[in-house]
């Protein structure tokens, strides 16, 4: 995966956490994530389509996610609160939206967010899709960005290739 696909998500996460939560995000070196490696306990997922396709997830330990949602909403709530997933989804939506805008010259759409809650669950990307995991930490705890995107198949075709339907 092109490293230029990773930087927008890091920049956007740092911007969102700074503006909405008032904390600084520090990132460690990105690593290749195996399909079977578990994510943390609470995961927000956004699909991307258009000139870029794939997904980005933001995954948190339970305690970290509860602290983050508390600051974000101004209300203390645990993972089983009815509004908890909505808050995580909105946070991931902002990160993805901010990253999307940095893919200059590309038309990209993002999906409405999905949120998965469950101890050490596994999120698998598409077949042959590489996932890069970026470990992050801030004063509220540790979390990870997992980016699994690529140029769309149509975009990647050589110039002049026939992309029309049969």
């Amino acid at each position: 995966m092109d490293s230029s696909y990773i930087t927008p998500f890091i920049n956007s996460a740092q911007n969102v956490f700074s503006m909405m939560l008032g904390v600084t995000v520090q990132v460690e070196a990105p690593v290749l994530k195996s399909q079977d490696d578990p994510s943390y306990d609470v995961t927000g997922i956004i699909g991307m389509s258009g000139d870029m396709e794939g997904s980005v997830i933001c995954s948190f330990e339970t305690s970290t996610s509860e602290r983050i949602v508390g600051v974000f909403t101004g209300t203390e709530m645990t993972v089983d609160h009815e509004d908890f997933a909505d808050a995580i989804g909105e946070l991931v939506n902002m990160i993805s939206g901010g990253a999307k805008a940095q893919f200059k010259g590309k038309m990209v759409s993002i999906s409405c967010p999905s949120v998965v809650i469950g101890n050490k669950h596994t999120v698998r990307g598409g077949k042959d899709q590489v996932t890069i995991m970026v470990p992050c930490k801030c004063d509220l705890g540790e979390f990870a960005l997992e980016i699994s995107i690529r140029q769309s198949c149509l975009q990647a075709k050589p110039e002049g290739a026939d992309t029309s339907a049969a």
């Binding site: 974000f72 808050a87 939506n93 939206g97 901010g98 805008a101 409405c112």
Partner: protein, 123 residues
């Protein structure tokens, strides 16, 4: 001042409600998508609308077009993660009066609201 908040995220509507309350606006109505908003604008008669773009059932841009097509004249602020210039232009052409990109600070949203209302001609 009646303000309609249109966003599929309850969290975001609550954040906006908090900011608006601090500005002294307390007559607020909520809608969870464009369809819900269309069903409420007639009876509620908002003086200002804050509208998200990406929502299920009916997105914010479609809502704005239909609201304007039905003669809705109240100012609309689009509050969205969509920040590309082409999107902003598309929204303005559809009838949006002002634009706020998420994430935002309370001050930036407050400034946009004041700016938008200041441009509304007195009745």
């Amino acid at each position: 001042m009646k303000i309609l908040l249109v966003d599929d995220s309850k969290t975001m509507r609550n954040i906006q409600k908090g900011i608006l309350s601090q500005l002294g606006y307390t007559d607020l109505e909520e809608a969870c998508d464009g369809l819900d908003a269309l069903s409420k604008v007639g009876a509620y008669g908002p003086d200002l609308l804050l509208v998200d773009w990406n929502m299920p059932n009916m997105d914010g841009l479609t809502f704005v077009k239909q609201y304007r097509a039905k003669g809705g004249k109240s100012p609309i602020i689009m509050v969205t993660t969509e920040s590309e210039k082409a999107r902003v232009v598309e929204a303005i052409k559809a009838g949006v009066n002002n634009y706020v990109v998420k994430p935002f600070t309370p001050d930036s949203l407050a400034d946009r609201i004041k700016e938008t209302l200041a441009k509304v001609p007195a009745a």
